[in-house]
Symmetry: C2
Subunit: 209 residues, 2 copies
Protein backbone atom coordinates (compact mmCIF):
# COMPACT_ATOMS: atom_id res chain seq x y z
CA UNK A 1 0.00 0.00 0.00
CA UNK A 2 1.26 3.46 -0.87
CA UNK A 3 -0.19 6.61 0.70
CA UNK A 4 0.88 10.02 -0.57
CA UNK A 5 1.19 13.32 1.30
CA UNK A 6 -2.11 14.91 0.20
CA UNK A 7 -4.07 11.78 1.06
CA UNK A 8 -2.47 11.57 4.51
CA UNK A 9 -3.30 15.20 5.25
CA UNK A 10 -6.90 14.53 4.16
CA UNK A 11 -7.34 11.73 6.73
CA UNK A 12 -9.44 12.24 9.87
CA UNK A 13 -7.21 13.92 12.49
CA UNK A 14 -6.90 11.09 15.05
CA UNK A 15 -6.36 8.49 12.33
CA UNK A 16 -3.65 10.67 10.79
CA UNK A 17 -1.95 11.33 14.14
CA UNK A 18 -1.91 7.61 14.99
CA UNK A 19 -0.53 6.76 11.56
CA UNK A 20 2.20 9.38 11.41
CA UNK A 21 3.34 8.82 14.99
CA UNK A 22 3.93 5.14 14.15
CA UNK A 23 6.35 5.83 11.31
CA UNK A 24 9.59 6.39 13.21
CA UNK A 25 9.76 2.84 14.54
CA UNK A 26 10.12 2.19 18.28
CA UNK A 27 10.63 5.18 20.52
CA UNK A 28 12.27 5.77 23.88
CA UNK A 29 9.92 5.95 26.87
CA UNK A 30 10.93 8.59 29.40
CA UNK A 31 9.49 10.84 32.05
CA UNK A 32 10.95 14.34 32.20
CA UNK A 33 10.91 15.89 35.65
CA UNK A 34 11.14 19.63 36.28
CA UNK A 35 10.36 22.19 38.97
CA UNK A 36 9.25 25.81 38.73
CA UNK A 37 11.04 28.72 40.38
CA UNK A 38 8.28 28.64 43.04
CA UNK A 39 8.96 24.97 43.75
CA UNK A 40 6.01 23.33 41.95
CA UNK A 41 7.03 19.98 40.41
CA UNK A 42 6.05 18.80 36.93
CA UNK A 43 6.33 15.43 35.23
CA UNK A 44 5.67 14.66 31.56
CA UNK A 45 6.06 11.65 29.30
CA UNK A 46 8.26 12.06 26.20
CA UNK A 47 9.01 9.60 23.40
CA UNK A 48 11.50 11.84 21.60
CA UNK A 49 14.60 11.63 23.83
CA UNK A 50 17.73 10.93 21.74
CA UNK A 51 21.49 10.75 22.21
CA UNK A 52 23.31 13.95 21.24
CA UNK A 53 26.95 13.40 22.17
CA UNK A 54 29.45 11.60 24.41
CA UNK A 55 31.92 14.51 24.79
CA UNK A 56 30.51 16.81 26.03
CA UNK A 57 27.88 14.43 27.48
CA UNK A 58 24.57 15.46 25.96
CA UNK A 59 21.02 14.26 25.44
CA UNK A 60 18.12 16.02 23.79
CA UNK A 61 14.39 15.82 23.13
CA UNK A 62 11.86 17.50 20.88
CA UNK A 63 8.96 19.33 22.40
CA UNK A 64 5.79 20.76 20.87
CA UNK A 65 5.48 24.48 20.09
CA UNK A 66 5.31 26.76 23.12
CA UNK A 67 2.43 28.74 21.58
CA UNK A 68 0.39 27.22 24.42
CA UNK A 69 1.95 26.99 27.88
CA UNK A 70 4.34 24.04 28.31
CA UNK A 71 5.23 23.58 31.97
CA UNK A 72 8.27 21.44 31.17
CA UNK A 73 9.69 24.19 28.95
CA UNK A 74 8.94 27.03 31.35
CA UNK A 75 10.47 25.15 34.28
CA UNK A 76 13.66 24.26 32.37
CA UNK A 77 14.10 27.89 31.35
CA UNK A 78 13.41 29.08 34.93
CA UNK A 79 15.72 26.70 36.78
CA UNK A 80 18.14 25.42 34.13
CA UNK A 81 17.66 21.75 35.09
CA UNK A 82 15.64 18.68 34.13
CA UNK A 83 15.73 14.93 34.76
CA UNK A 84 15.18 12.04 32.35
CA UNK A 85 13.73 8.91 33.96
CA UNK A 86 13.31 5.58 32.13
CA UNK A 87 9.79 4.21 32.11
CA UNK A 88 9.60 0.56 33.17
CA UNK A 89 6.82 -2.01 33.06
CA UNK A 90 5.72 -1.30 36.64
CA UNK A 91 4.95 2.38 36.03
CA UNK A 92 3.88 2.65 32.39
CA UNK A 93 0.25 3.38 33.26
CA UNK A 94 1.20 6.17 35.66
CA UNK A 95 3.68 7.46 33.07
CA UNK A 96 1.00 7.53 30.35
CA UNK A 97 -1.36 9.36 32.69
CA UNK A 98 1.09 12.30 32.94
CA UNK A 99 0.03 13.22 29.39
CA UNK A 100 -3.40 14.30 30.64
CA UNK A 101 -3.85 18.07 30.66
CA UNK A 102 -3.54 18.92 34.34
CA UNK A 103 -3.68 22.52 35.50
CA UNK A 104 -0.36 24.18 36.39
CA UNK A 105 -1.06 24.06 40.14
CA UNK A 106 -1.44 20.26 40.04
CA UNK A 107 1.74 18.18 40.10
CA UNK A 108 1.63 15.07 37.89
CA UNK A 109 3.63 13.31 40.63
CA UNK A 110 0.64 13.58 42.97
CA UNK A 111 -2.05 13.15 40.32
CA UNK A 112 -0.47 10.05 38.76
CA UNK A 113 0.94 8.31 41.83
CA UNK A 114 4.69 8.72 41.30
CA UNK A 115 7.24 9.88 43.88
CA UNK A 116 9.61 12.84 43.48
CA UNK A 117 13.16 12.22 44.67
CA UNK A 118 16.00 14.73 44.89
CA UNK A 119 19.78 14.67 44.65
CA UNK A 120 22.10 17.36 46.01
CA UNK A 121 23.23 18.53 42.58
CA UNK A 122 20.08 18.70 40.48
CA UNK A 123 17.29 21.13 41.26
CA UNK A 124 14.71 19.10 39.27
CA UNK A 125 12.94 16.04 40.74
CA UNK A 126 13.73 12.46 39.75
CA UNK A 127 11.10 9.72 39.65
CA UNK A 128 11.80 7.35 42.54
CA UNK A 129 10.09 4.41 40.82
CA UNK A 130 12.37 4.66 37.76
CA UNK A 131 15.49 2.45 37.68
CA UNK A 132 17.64 4.59 35.38
CA UNK A 133 17.70 8.34 35.96
CA UNK A 134 19.75 11.10 34.39
CA UNK A 135 20.12 14.62 35.76
CA UNK A 136 20.80 17.31 33.16
CA UNK A 137 21.63 20.99 32.91
CA UNK A 138 20.03 22.96 30.08
CA UNK A 139 22.51 23.77 27.29
CA UNK A 140 20.60 25.11 24.28
CA UNK A 141 17.37 25.02 22.30
CA UNK A 142 16.91 24.95 18.54
CA UNK A 143 13.56 25.74 16.98
CA UNK A 144 12.37 23.74 13.97
CA UNK A 145 11.11 26.64 11.87
CA UNK A 146 8.70 24.52 9.79
CA UNK A 147 6.36 23.85 12.73
CA UNK A 148 7.70 25.60 15.82
CA UNK A 149 8.74 22.44 17.70
CA UNK A 150 11.79 22.93 19.90
CA UNK A 151 14.77 20.61 20.29
CA UNK A 152 16.07 20.96 23.84
CA UNK A 153 19.65 19.90 24.64
CA UNK A 154 20.99 19.18 28.11
CA UNK A 155 24.39 18.22 29.49
CA UNK A 156 24.48 15.13 31.70
CA UNK A 157 25.39 16.13 35.25
CA UNK A 158 24.88 12.72 36.86
CA UNK A 159 23.54 9.25 36.16
CA UNK A 160 21.77 7.14 38.79
CA UNK A 161 21.34 3.42 37.99
CA UNK A 162 21.51 -0.04 39.58
CA UNK A 163 25.03 -1.50 39.98
CA UNK A 164 24.22 -4.76 38.24
CA UNK A 165 23.04 -3.40 34.87
CA UNK A 166 26.34 -2.01 33.60
CA UNK A 167 28.17 -4.56 31.42
CA UNK A 168 31.97 -4.87 31.34
CA UNK A 169 32.23 -2.67 28.26
CA UNK A 170 30.01 0.12 29.64
CA UNK A 171 26.81 -0.94 27.84
CA UNK A 172 23.79 -0.55 30.12
CA UNK A 173 21.46 -3.54 30.09
CA UNK A 174 18.31 -1.44 29.94
CA UNK A 175 16.21 -4.51 29.19
CA UNK A 176 17.35 -6.02 32.51
CA UNK A 177 16.48 -2.72 34.21
CA UNK A 178 12.90 -3.12 32.94
CA UNK A 179 12.99 -0.19 30.51
CA UNK A 180 10.24 -0.40 27.90
CA UNK A 181 9.65 1.07 24.43
CA UNK A 182 6.78 3.02 22.85
CA UNK A 183 5.25 2.82 19.41
CA UNK A 184 2.70 5.21 18.00
CA UNK A 185 1.05 7.39 20.61
CA UNK A 186 -0.02 4.79 23.12
CA UNK A 187 1.46 1.31 22.64
CA UNK A 188 3.95 0.13 25.27
CA UNK A 189 6.32 -2.77 24.57
CA UNK A 190 8.70 -4.95 26.51
CA UNK A 191 11.74 -6.22 24.60
CA UNK A 192 13.89 -9.29 24.08
CA UNK A 193 17.46 -8.92 22.83
CA UNK A 194 18.17 -10.69 19.52
CA UNK A 195 21.91 -10.02 19.53
CA UNK A 196 24.66 -7.52 20.13
CA UNK A 197 26.94 -7.09 17.12
CA UNK A 198 30.63 -6.18 17.00
CA UNK A 199 31.73 -2.78 15.69
CA UNK A 200 31.33 -3.02 11.89
CA UNK A 201 34.38 -3.00 9.60
CA UNK A 202 34.27 -2.92 5.77
CA UNK A 203 36.06 -6.24 5.19
CA UNK A 204 34.55 -8.24 8.07
CA UNK A 205 31.14 -9.97 8.19
CA UNK A 206 28.78 -8.88 10.99
CA UNK A 207 29.38 -11.03 14.06
CA UNK A 208 27.49 -11.51 17.33
CA UNK A 209 29.19 -10.46 20.57
CA UNK B 1 25.19 3.72 41.78
CA UNK B 2 25.69 7.39 40.94
CA UNK B 3 28.23 8.55 38.34
CA UNK B 4 28.94 12.25 37.91
CA UNK B 5 29.93 14.16 34.77
CA UNK B 6 33.69 14.41 35.43
CA UNK B 7 33.96 10.70 36.22
CA UNK B 8 32.07 9.77 33.05
CA UNK B 9 34.35 11.94 30.92
CA UNK B 10 37.38 10.28 32.57
CA UNK B 11 36.23 6.79 31.51
CA UNK B 12 37.98 4.90 28.69
CA UNK B 13 36.48 6.09 25.38
CA UNK B 14 34.68 2.91 24.25
CA UNK B 15 33.33 2.27 27.74
CA UNK B 16 32.05 5.85 27.91
CA UNK B 17 30.48 5.70 24.45
CA UNK B 18 28.67 2.43 25.26
CA UNK B 19 27.44 3.85 28.57
CA UNK B 20 26.21 7.19 27.29
CA UNK B 21 24.56 5.73 24.17
CA UNK B 22 22.48 3.47 26.45
CA UNK B 23 20.93 6.30 28.44
CA UNK B 24 18.10 7.37 26.15
CA UNK B 25 16.25 4.07 26.46
CA UNK B 26 15.22 2.13 23.34
CA UNK B 27 15.86 3.74 19.99
CA UNK B 28 14.31 3.50 16.55
CA UNK B 29 16.17 1.31 14.04
CA UNK B 30 16.16 2.76 10.54
CA UNK B 31 18.17 2.75 7.34
CA UNK B 32 18.40 6.07 5.56
CA UNK B 33 18.77 5.80 1.80
CA UNK B 34 20.17 8.58 -0.40
CA UNK B 35 21.70 9.08 -3.82
CA UNK B 36 24.36 11.54 -5.03
CA UNK B 37 23.89 13.92 -7.95
CA UNK B 38 26.01 11.48 -9.99
CA UNK B 39 23.68 8.60 -9.13
CA UNK B 40 25.77 6.76 -6.50
CA UNK B 41 23.54 5.25 -3.80
CA UNK B 42 24.27 5.38 -0.08
CA UNK B 43 22.69 3.59 2.87
CA UNK B 44 23.32 4.25 6.56
CA UNK B 45 21.87 3.03 9.84
CA UNK B 46 20.43 5.66 12.20
CA UNK B 47 18.98 5.27 15.69
CA UNK B 48 17.95 8.91 16.08
CA UNK B 49 14.87 9.18 13.84
CA UNK B 50 12.00 10.90 15.68
CA UNK B 51 8.51 12.24 14.94
CA UNK B 52 8.43 15.99 14.26
CA UNK B 53 4.87 16.77 13.26
CA UNK B 54 1.60 15.53 11.75
CA UNK B 55 0.64 18.74 9.89
CA UNK B 56 2.80 19.39 7.95
CA UNK B 57 3.91 15.74 7.96
CA UNK B 58 7.48 15.72 9.22
CA UNK B 59 10.15 13.41 10.59
CA UNK B 60 13.71 14.20 11.63
CA UNK B 61 17.00 12.67 12.70
CA UNK B 62 20.24 13.81 14.28
CA UNK B 63 23.48 13.30 12.43
CA UNK B 64 27.07 13.66 13.55
CA UNK B 65 29.09 16.79 12.70
CA UNK B 66 29.95 17.20 9.01
CA UNK B 67 33.56 18.10 9.87
CA UNK B 68 34.39 14.79 8.16
CA UNK B 69 32.53 13.85 4.98
CA UNK B 70 29.03 12.41 5.60
CA UNK B 71 27.64 10.90 2.41
CA UNK B 72 24.07 10.91 3.74
CA UNK B 73 24.28 14.65 4.40
CA UNK B 74 25.96 15.53 1.10
CA UNK B 75 23.44 13.48 -0.89
CA UNK B 76 20.42 15.01 0.87
CA UNK B 77 21.76 18.49 0.17
CA UNK B 78 22.52 17.60 -3.47
CA UNK B 79 19.20 15.95 -4.35
CA UNK B 80 16.77 17.16 -1.69
CA UNK B 81 15.44 13.67 -0.92
CA UNK B 82 15.97 10.76 1.48
CA UNK B 83 14.16 7.59 2.50
CA UNK B 84 13.60 6.09 5.96
CA UNK B 85 13.31 2.29 6.01
CA UNK B 86 12.39 0.29 9.14
CA UNK B 87 14.93 -2.37 10.10
CA UNK B 88 13.37 -5.77 10.74
CA UNK B 89 14.69 -8.98 12.25
CA UNK B 90 15.62 -10.45 8.85
CA UNK B 91 18.00 -7.65 7.90
CA UNK B 92 19.46 -6.36 11.17
CA UNK B 93 22.93 -7.75 10.45
CA UNK B 94 23.08 -6.18 7.00
CA UNK B 95 21.71 -2.96 8.51
CA UNK B 96 24.40 -2.92 11.21
CA UNK B 97 27.07 -3.54 8.58
CA UNK B 98 26.18 -0.25 6.82
CA UNK B 99 27.91 1.52 9.74
CA UNK B 100 31.32 0.30 8.53
CA UNK B 101 33.41 3.07 6.94
CA UNK B 102 33.12 2.30 3.26
CA UNK B 103 34.74 4.57 0.68
CA UNK B 104 32.45 6.96 -1.20
CA UNK B 105 32.60 4.94 -4.45
CA UNK B 106 31.24 1.84 -2.69
CA UNK B 107 27.47 1.60 -2.17
CA UNK B 108 26.41 0.05 1.13
CA UNK B 109 23.55 -1.61 -0.77
CA UNK B 110 26.08 -3.74 -2.67
CA UNK B 111 28.57 -4.13 0.16
CA UNK B 112 25.96 -5.20 2.73
CA UNK B 113 23.60 -7.25 0.58
CA UNK B 114 20.50 -5.04 0.47
CA UNK B 115 18.47 -4.09 -2.60
CA UNK B 116 17.73 -0.53 -3.78
CA UNK B 117 14.17 0.06 -4.95
CA UNK B 118 12.73 3.20 -6.53
CA UNK B 119 9.38 4.94 -6.68
CA UNK B 120 8.36 7.49 -9.30
CA UNK B 121 8.25 10.38 -6.86
CA UNK B 122 11.34 10.03 -4.70
CA UNK B 123 14.83 10.35 -6.16
CA UNK B 124 16.45 8.47 -3.23
CA UNK B 125 16.49 4.65 -3.04
CA UNK B 126 14.29 2.61 -0.70
CA UNK B 127 15.42 -0.68 0.86
CA UNK B 128 13.43 -3.47 -0.82
CA UNK B 129 13.82 -5.81 2.19
CA UNK B 130 12.24 -3.27 4.56
CA UNK B 131 8.49 -3.58 5.25
CA UNK B 132 7.78 0.04 6.17
CA UNK B 133 9.33 2.77 4.04
CA UNK B 134 8.91 6.52 4.05
CA UNK B 135 10.01 8.87 1.26
CA UNK B 136 10.89 12.41 2.38
CA UNK B 137 11.80 15.77 0.93
CA UNK B 138 14.42 17.81 2.80
CA UNK B 139 12.88 20.74 4.70
CA UNK B 140 15.50 22.23 7.02
CA UNK B 141 18.53 21.58 9.19
CA UNK B 142 19.32 22.92 12.65
CA UNK B 143 22.82 22.73 14.07
CA UNK B 144 23.30 21.90 17.75
CA UNK B 145 25.94 24.52 18.53
CA UNK B 146 27.38 22.69 21.54
CA UNK B 147 28.83 19.85 19.45
CA UNK B 148 28.10 20.51 15.78
CA UNK B 149 25.57 17.69 15.34
CA UNK B 150 22.83 18.48 12.83
CA UNK B 151 19.10 17.83 13.15
CA UNK B 152 17.72 17.15 9.67
CA UNK B 153 13.99 17.57 9.04
CA UNK B 154 12.10 16.13 6.08
CA UNK B 155 8.49 16.28 4.91
CA UNK B 156 6.80 12.96 4.22
CA UNK B 157 6.05 12.63 0.51
CA UNK B 158 4.81 9.04 0.58
CA UNK B 159 4.51 5.99 2.86
CA UNK B 160 4.86 2.42 1.59
CA UNK B 161 3.69 -0.33 3.94
CA UNK B 162 1.82 -3.67 3.98
CA UNK B 163 -1.99 -3.41 3.87
CA UNK B 164 -2.53 -5.60 6.91
CA UNK B 165 -0.52 -3.60 9.48
CA UNK B 166 -2.70 -0.50 9.67
CA UNK B 167 -5.21 -0.76 12.52
CA UNK B 168 -8.72 0.71 12.33
CA UNK B 169 -7.65 3.89 14.11
CA UNK B 170 -4.58 4.51 11.92
CA UNK B 171 -2.02 3.02 14.32
CA UNK B 172 0.58 1.01 12.43
CA UNK B 173 1.33 -2.38 13.99
CA UNK B 174 5.08 -2.07 13.55
CA UNK B 175 5.66 -5.10 15.79
CA UNK B 176 3.63 -7.20 13.33
CA UNK B 177 5.69 -5.72 10.47
CA UNK B 178 8.82 -7.09 12.17
CA UNK B 179 10.30 -3.70 13.08
CA UNK B 180 12.94 -3.96 15.82
CA UNK B 181 14.48 -1.59 18.36
CA UNK B 182 18.08 -0.67 19.24
CA UNK B 183 19.71 -0.04 22.59
CA UNK B 184 23.19 1.31 23.09
CA UNK B 185 25.37 1.17 19.98
CA UNK B 186 24.88 -2.43 18.96
CA UNK B 187 22.06 -4.29 20.73
CA UNK B 188 19.03 -5.25 18.62
CA UNK B 189 15.71 -6.16 20.24
CA UNK B 190 12.41 -7.64 19.19
CA UNK B 191 9.36 -6.46 21.11
CA UNK B 192 6.15 -7.67 22.66
CA UNK B 193 3.28 -5.28 23.25
CA UNK B 194 2.19 -4.92 26.88
CA UNK B 195 -0.82 -2.72 26.19
CA UNK B 196 -2.22 0.20 24.30
CA UNK B 197 -3.73 2.85 26.57
CA UNK B 198 -6.58 5.26 25.89
CA UNK B 199 -5.91 8.99 25.50
CA UNK B 200 -5.24 10.26 29.04
CA UNK B 201 -7.70 12.61 30.76
CA UNK B 202 -7.19 14.27 34.17
CA UNK B 203 -10.15 12.72 35.93
CA UNK B 204 -10.04 9.23 34.36
CA UNK B 205 -7.80 6.29 35.37
CA UNK B 206 -5.49 4.90 32.64
CA UNK B 207 -7.32 2.14 30.74
CA UNK B 208 -6.20 -0.47 28.21
CA UNK B 209 -7.60 -0.27 24.66
Amino acid sequence: MKIVNENILALEKHYRTNLVNSLTGFKSANLIGTISAEGKTNLAIFSSVIHVGANPLMMGFLMRPVSVERHTYTNIKETGYFTINHINKKIFKQAHQTSARYEKDISEFDACGLTPEYSETIKAPYVKESEIKIGLKFVEEQEIKANGTIFIVGEIVEIILPNDVVAKDGYVEIEKAGTIAISGLDNYHETKSIARLYYAKPSVDPKEI
